[in-house]
């Protein structure tokens, strides 16, 4: 029997996102539920990063968002939940400070803070990645100019378009 609150229960519809390569579990933003922030939750399975390239600074290229973002890396071993079961390279700041994430954690990304490349370099078992953005929809602006020339030339930039940023008036 249909209930009057059925529309509050939202199941991810992969048909709406035909280019998604990840097994996305949940997606929500202001266009799906007025007033919601942007959320994206997906599994990270062995082989996830195979198409991100194998060179220094491969992975989701450096970028910013208009709103703060929380990046949850959640391990799935019931015997040791704080072990991520994987190793993720994450670069932070315009200096590309290198971090290796191997524990369950949340990374706080302030608005306009340059972060990434982000790339899993070892995945022992599936784990869960949750991207919580404190704005209504996804926004993104790339900063390819901070990458070494060799990395910049190897990245397919058509995969990483800017989203909802305007070019300055000249």
């Amino acid at each position: 029997m249909a209930g009057k609150y059925d529309h509050y229960i939202v199941e991810y519809d992969p048909e709406k996102f035909p280019n998604e390569r990840r097994p996305v579990m949940a997606y929500m933003d202001d266009t799906l539920a007025k007033g919601s922030h942007f959320y994206l939750i997906h599994w990270v399975l062995p082989g996830f990063a195979d198409n991100l390239g194998d060179f220094p600074y491969a992975g989701h290229p450096p970028h910013i968002h208009k709103d703060a973002e929380l990046l949850f890396h959640i391990g799935t071993d019931p015997e040791n939940p704080m072990d991520l079961g994987a190793e993720v390279i994450m670069y932070l700041g315009p200096e590309l400070e290198e971090h290796h994430i191997t524990r369950t954690c949340c990374i706080w990304i302030p608005p306009n803070f340059i972060h990434s490349p982000w790339k899993p370099i070892r995945i022992d078992r599936p784990w869960i990645f949750m991207e919580f953005n404190q704005g209504p929809v996804h926004t993104e602006k790339s900063y390819r100019q901070i990458l070494p020339k060799e990395a910049r030339e190897k990245i397919d930039w058509s995969r990483w378009p800017d989203d909802k940023y305007e070019e300055p008036d000249c």
Binding site: I64, P94, P110, P111, N112, F113, I114, K141, Y143, R144, Q145, I146, R152, E153, W157, Y165, E166, E167, P168, D169, C170
Partner: protein
């Protein structure tokens, strides 16, 4: 207070031009890189700047922290 852009830190992204509430930051030159990236050389117009301090006081208002206050 006077504000300027440290060109040694500036990434020439042009974000400051679109963010300044007083439209006091302007593009003085732009160059397109081989891979299509547009780089903007910008400056703060002291005639338009009201000293609101937004560009300096918000920690990552400039993603390169290139805004200088003197």
């Amino acid at each position: 207070m006077a504000y300027s852009i440290d060109m040694k830190k500036c990434l020439k992204c042009g974000l400051c031009v679109t963010q300044c509430p007083e439209k006091a930051i302007v593009v003085v030159d732009k160059v397109q890189e081989d891979d299509g990236l547009m780089l903007y050389t910008c400056k703060i117009d002291p005639e338009k700047c009201t000293g609101c301090d937004e560009c300096f006081s918000f920690e990552w208002w400039c993603p390169a922290k290139a805004i200088v206050r003197s």
